[in-house]
């Protein structure tokens, strides 16, 4: 395997991904990611010099619309989905001491 994923890398990725991994999950993730990157590395066989990256197949940019409210008030239904709510707001752990 050409790609060896270090503990530091997987911990950094877990921070970016906002995931908490158990020691077993961490080992599995290192192996999985290494194997996937080995596989993905075959793209390097392709000469892409001078090829523009294509994010969308149609040339779309800056699709604008009028900034007007079109949806109805569903405050109650939205709050009903909240894991925790208080006084008509979403409740989260204290963030400012």
């Amino acid at each position: 395997m050409a790609n060896i994923i270090s503990d530091e890398t997987i911990e950094y990725v877990a921070i970016l991904a906002k995931l908490e991994l158990s020691p077993e999950e961490k080992e599995a993730a290192k192996k999985d990611m290494g194997e996937m990157l080995d596989y993905i590395d075959q793209l390097n066989e392709l000469d892409t010099t001078g090829v523009e990256p294509m994010s969308h197949i149609f040339p779309i940019s800056n699709v604008f619309r009028e900034d007007v409210v079109t949806n109805t008030d569903v405050r109650e239904q939205m709050l009903a989905n909240a894991p925790k709510q208080k006084d008509g707001s979403f409740q989260v752990p204290r963030t400012v001491e």
């Binding site: 906002k18 908490e20 990157l37 596989y39 075959q42 294509m54 969308h56 699709v63 569903v74 894991p83």
Partner: protein, 499 residues
């Protein structure tokens, strides 16, 4: 003929002719679900009461003459990543296991306007990440033709529900083959339209530049009618395309004279099951007999599609799934220490292994220092693949290919080796990268009685050509139904039920 055995358009016509009522049809579908779903598990949620209520309202509109379309009153199943107002939408994930949307996806709104009756939400791979429906938090769906096998994925529940006649048709979504491959494994018709044809508003995003909603149906006529109903320009989806002709049912003719069909040699080489190769070559012969011109050619770049796809789809997924944080909806961990701990614990407990794998890969390829080498490289590869298809479509109207290299694998055989599972999408994935329309049509069975699908791929906006070819081919063969469905019908007849 038994109501559940009818195609969507056939049933719709009988409803318009007042031979069958929408309520009657919905009840029959719910009975079929009661009988078969405990074994096959196509549905995550069955909305029995809501469906009957909807059927009564639709029937009233039909009786008053305000709903006259062919899909009015016809029961449909919706993949569980399409938001339905007031009806739980889970993406087959723990993190959304109690989520009730406050709005309905535009594609489903379009169906409701046409008078559709929603019977329930179908099982899928978690967040549409998988090829077998085995990554669902709610358990696996089984293949209608053999319950020891997978139905394919990620729209496995939708394809199984259609084959089991637990609905008249279904909606799925396709990011790398998720409509076509399960349709192939379950012996039904499935289409992924040109990117931008169906609004993605209300589709819970996986890989936004690749995701597209499409029909899964018993036959090509239904496929065209459903696509006609769901296609629309939608300002709420910034990638929605204002396209001209969407009267897809006009293409339901057997005329394939002079249609140029290309068979890519690189799709028929190593790794393709011999029985599938034979079935598709036989299908090509049938189309040739009807006047199509068949020729082999080299498409190129085939082996690069999967690595490019996993970089792009994972990158987009890592961004799209950042919204699941346990704050406004969805699962929140029971124990945590502060806000960041709550995010991390909720996500770690809420997502399954395959979803975490892709979020991490996506976060990595987008991280500074790797962005150019992986993400931009994949986007450059995508540009080359698009060019290869453009070149092919200068010579051909349609590309004819297998949908998958094998028929449905056994349950439990795929998840242990992700790369091997990913390779099963080799013939479908490049279509998403290039934004093309493609459909899977049943074309035979293997020695174990499992369905084989062939894939018709067209240039952007040429769905009508695909429908024409598929319709012409469909006329050459008998419609096949799974043994379990035939057996149930036989038993009911013996029991003297009037069907």
């Amino acid at each position: 003929m038994k109501i559940t055995a009818l195609g969507a358009v056939e049933l719709g016509k009988k409803i318009q002719a007042r031979e069958i009522s929408s309520v009657e049809a919905t009840k029959e579908v719910l009975r079929q679900i009661d009988a078969l779903d405990p074994i096959y598990h196509s549905y995550v949620t069955v909305a029995g009461e809501q469906a009957l209520e909807q059927a009564r309202a639709v029937q009233k509109a039909i009786d008053e003459g305000t709903l006259t379309g062919t899909l009015a009153g016809v029961p449909v199943a919706i993949k569980d990543n399409l938001c339905t107002r007031g009806l739980r939408t889970t993406c087959s994930s723990n993190i959304l296991s109690n989520f009730v949307p406050t709005y309905t996806a535009q594609a489903v709104v379009n169906l409701e306007k046409a008078g559709a009756v929603i019977v329930g939400k179908t099982n899928m791979d978690e967040f549409a990440m998988g090829s077998t429906t085995e990554t669902s938090f709610f358990g696996v769906t089984k293949n209608p033709w053999n319950p020891d096998h997978v139905p394919g994925g990620s729209s496995g529940g939708s394809a199984a529900a259609v084959a089991l006649e637990e609905c008249s048709y279904a909606l799925g979504s396709d990011t790398g083959g998720s409509i076509r491959q399960p349709s192939s494994f379950c012996g039904v018709v499935g289409m992924k339209p040109t990117y931008g044809t169906v609004s993605r508003y209300g589709l819970i995003a996986y890989g936004s530049s690749l995701d597209q909603i499409g029909p899964i149906s018993k036959n090509v006529t239904d496929c065209a009618a459903i696509l006609e109903a769901i296609a629309s320009y939608d300002p709420k989806d910034s990638t929605s395309v204002r396209r001209g002709d969407t009267r897809f049912t006009e293409a339901l003719t057997e005329d394939v004279k002079g249609l140029r069909i290309g068979l890519p040699r690189d799709y028929y080489g190593d790794g393709l099951d011999g029985e599938i190769r034979d079935a598709i070559q036989k299908a090509a012969k049938e189309l040739e007999k009807k006047g199509a011109v068949i020729e082999e050619f080299d498409l190129g770049l085939v082996s690069y599609a999967i690595p490019a796809y996993y970089v792009i789809a994972s990158a987009e997924a890592s961004s799209n799934l950042a919204r699941f944080d346990g704050v406004k909806y969805g699962y929140r961990a029971k124990e945590y220490d502060g806000l960041h701990s709550m995010y991390k614990k909720s996500r770690s407990e809420g997502f399954g292994a395959e979803v975490k794998r892709r979020i991490m890969l996506g976060s990595f390829v987008l991280s500074s220092g790797y962005y150019d080498a992986y993400y931009l490289k994949a986007l450059r590869t995508k540009a080359l693949m698009k060019q290869a298809f453009d070149k092919a479509f200068e010579r051909f109207d349609i590309i004819l290919a297998p949908t998958a290299p094998t028929t449905a694998p056994k349950l439990g055989e795929s998840l242990s080796d992700p790369i091997k599972m990913y390779l099963g999408d080799i013939y479908t994935i490049s279509v998403n990268l290039a934004g093309l329309p493609a459909m899977s049509v049943p074309c035979g069975t293997d020695k174990n009685g499992l369905p084989i699908g062939m894939q018709l791929i067209g240039d952007c906006f040429t769905e009508k050509k695909l429908i024409r070819a598929a319709y012409a081919f469909e006329k050459t063969r008998e419609f096949a139904r799974p043994a379990v469905v035939l057996e149930r019908e036989r038993k009911e007849r013996e029991d003297g039920k009037n069907i």
